[in-house]
């Protein structure tokens, strides 16, 4: 059982507000990622839940109980830091058993719990190793086991994979996913890596500049961003302007049927993902453009196309394009996402503003 609620959370460092009006609920057994670039207050939120810093306004409840007055050791939320922070003067077993020993549990019980969790985290046989004899991935698993063994109501993970190399990260992601699925432990996971967040979590919350901009299932955030900033964070870089009239969004590049009526006649922004634009060297489509630059990225090629004063970025599996070439483009209307409200920041050159 574990349910975490953050209501109107505001946290300041001195006079600077780091987190503002933050609302998030993590349901029992759910894995929620808090995603955002570094320095946006993700870790601050975790530390506030863990009780390592005090929040100034709002409320944090774990299992329906407000925790503001509880010291960190009494909260049923355990945090795992970015660095593994294993105690160097203890071996693996002693590190894992640390929390249980602090609770003064019986030694036999502690032994049993340690063995169990070491099996779960694939550490069996490493119990008497010194910390410095472990590889980076093993260290991170020990630090995960050290938290899991306490069976906290809420597990807080602060970028536990960011110090690992690419291969190991993938393995660890799968391990965390498996463990979470098996133990159904309520988890709040912080990361700056969008792929990690999308892959690992049931729901993702995107935090930009101390504000939670959108919360939803990974597909929702990816395909139905709430505003241009969210789209941009997930690699969306094509923005077009247009107006809504009589159930259609009209722009120079495409006409999109829409149910939206708000902002009727006003200039609105819409976006399309780079992999959704169709590109061909034949003059098959209405839109004509000239290739400015191509970038071969392995499984796809990124192409910058100048078209009617707008610059489009296109991802295509086809590598046979070269700069200077004339191409035709098609923006499928069903892939275009119109932002309901007009943003103050008008996007003229999406590449520069990235």
């Amino acid at each position: 059982m574990g349910e975490l609620q953050l209501k109107n959370l505001t946290i300041r460092y001195g006079s600077a507000t780091v987190v503002r009006d933050f609302n998030l609920a993590v349901l029992d057994g759910e894995m929620v990622s808090l995603l955002g670039p570094s320095g946006t207050g993700k870790t601050t939120v975790l530390k506030a839940v863990a009780g390592l810093i005090q929040h100034h306004e709002g409320e944090i409840t774990i299992d329906g109980q407000p925790v503001k007055d509880l010291p960190p050791e009494k909260r049923k939320a355990v945090m795992v830091f970015q660095k593994s922070l294993l105690f160097p003067f203890m071996n693996v077993e002693q590190n894992i058993g640390f929390g249980l020993r602090m609770q003064g549990r019986r030694e036999r019980e502690i032994r049993r719990e340690i063995d169990q969790i070491m099996q779960l985290t694939e550490l069996t046989g490493l119990g008497s190793r010194k910390v410095h004899e472990l590889s980076g991935g093993q260290q991170q698993r020990v630090s995960l086991a050290r938290a899991l063994v306490l069976k906290p109501a809420v597990l807080l993970l602060d970028e536990p994979l960011s110090n690992l190399d690419a291969n190991l990260r993938q393995q660890m992601r799968e391990l965390i996913q498996d463990i979470q699925a098996e133990t159904r432990i309520t988890t709040l996971f912080v990361t700056h890596d969008q792929a990690e967040a999308l892959m690992i979590s049931h729901r993702v919350g995107l935090l930009l500049e101390g504000r939670l901009r959108q919360v939803g299932r990974p597909r929702e955030l990816f395909y139905r961003p709430a505003d241009p900033d969210v789209a941009r964070f997930f690699g969306g870089c094509n923005f077009i302007r247009g107006r809504i009239k009589d159930g259609n969004f009209y722009s120079e590049f495409a006409t999109v049927p829409t149910a939206l009526t708000n902002g009727n006649g006003h200039l609105l922004t819409a976006t399309i993902r780079p992999e959704d634009i169709r590109i061909t060297p034949e003059s098959k489509y209405e839109l004509q453009g000239r290739i400015q630059k191509t970038n071969f990225e392995g499984s796809a090629t990124r192409i910058w196309v100048q078209c009617k004063g707008n610059r489009f970025v296109i991802l295509t599996p086809d590598a046979d394009f070269s700069p200077g070439q004339t191409v035709s483009l098609h923006l499928p209307p069903e892939k275009i996402r119109i932002f309901p409200a007009e943003e103050k920041s008008v996007i003229n050159d999406p590449i520069e503003s990235l």
Partner: protein
């Protein structure tokens, strides 16, 4: 090349450290040894018999006095040095540079001046010729060292270890005892040893503040050397050096191979 250098280093070390000791040991076992002679003319155990016989009780009480003073001084200097070093190493506040200068002062100013200046106050406060007075004056020399050592240790200290421990369910006392102290143990050993040895070898300040009432080993040693009996003085010197030497050996062995984070 490297091997030669290593041998050279060993030779220099032996010459500089062990040779004076050798002379000291020879002196303590000699009964007649005059200037131009390279070796003592006559060997004997007179000095050692004197130390363990006639002067035995005096030496033992001096030894106990020295150990007590040095232990108490080292303990207080740690109890004060660890929190002070922690504050200086982990937090930024105004006046840090000033504190650093103030801490260095007793080390820079000649000990004679410090002891003479303090004596006037100690007499007024009734601390002169007392055990606590001697410990206090020793602290003026020991504290800067332990604060500086701990300052260095805590500048390289990651307080997230403590946050992690708290999040894992340790209360403040458990964090100090089970996490902080083990993490800084090498630093504590160094600071404690520094303080102990510094206090152990204090002569002038003990003489001025203790006024002859607190007879630590160095006080006895100087008295014996003044009497001109070289073999006895040499033997007392050996008794004086041995505990310090053992402490150093023990800690070198204990600290061997471990890096001491942040010790400047």
């Amino acid at each position: 090349m490297i091997r030669i250098n290593r041998n050279l280093a060993a030779a220099v070390l032996v010459t500089l450290v062990l040779l004076p000791f050798g002379v000291l040991i020879m002196w303590s076992f000699s009964t007649r040894w005059f200037y131009p002679q390279l070796w003592p003319a006559q060997w004997g155990l007179r000095a050692w018999q004197y130390i363990f016989g006639a002067a035995g009780t005096q030496i033992v009480s001096g030894l106990i006095q020295s150990i007590l003073v040095a232990l108490v001084t080292a303990a207080i200097s740690l109890v004060m040095g660890v929190p002070a070093g922690r504050a200086l190493g982990l937090y930024d506040f105004r006046g840090k540079d000033l504190i650093s200068v103030l801490l260095m002062l007793p080390v820079i100013v000649p000990p004679l001046c410090v002891a003479m200046g303090l004596q006037l106050w100690f007499i007024k406060l009734g601390l002169s010729e007392t055990f606590s007075g001697v410990v206090l004056v020793h602290l003026t020399f020991c504290l800067p060292y332990s604060v500086f050592v701990m300052w260095g240790v805590f500048s390289n200290y990651n307080p997230d270890y403590e946050n992690q421990a708290r999040s894992l369910g340790a209360n403040s006392w458990q964090v100090i005892a089970r996490v902080m102290l083990p993490l800084i143990l090498p630093g504590i050993t160094v600071a404690g040893l520094f303080s102990f040895l510094l206090s152990w070898s204090q002569y002038l300040s003990t003489l001025i503040i203790g006024g002859g009432k607190i007879t630590t080993l160095p006080i006895l040693l100087f008295a014996l050397m003044g009497s001109g009996d070289r073999p006895v003085a040499a033997a007392v010197s050996i008794v004086f050096v041995t505990p310090a030497f053992l402490a150093l050996l023990f800690s070198a062995r204990y600290l061997g191979g471990q890096s001491i984070p942040g010790v400047r």
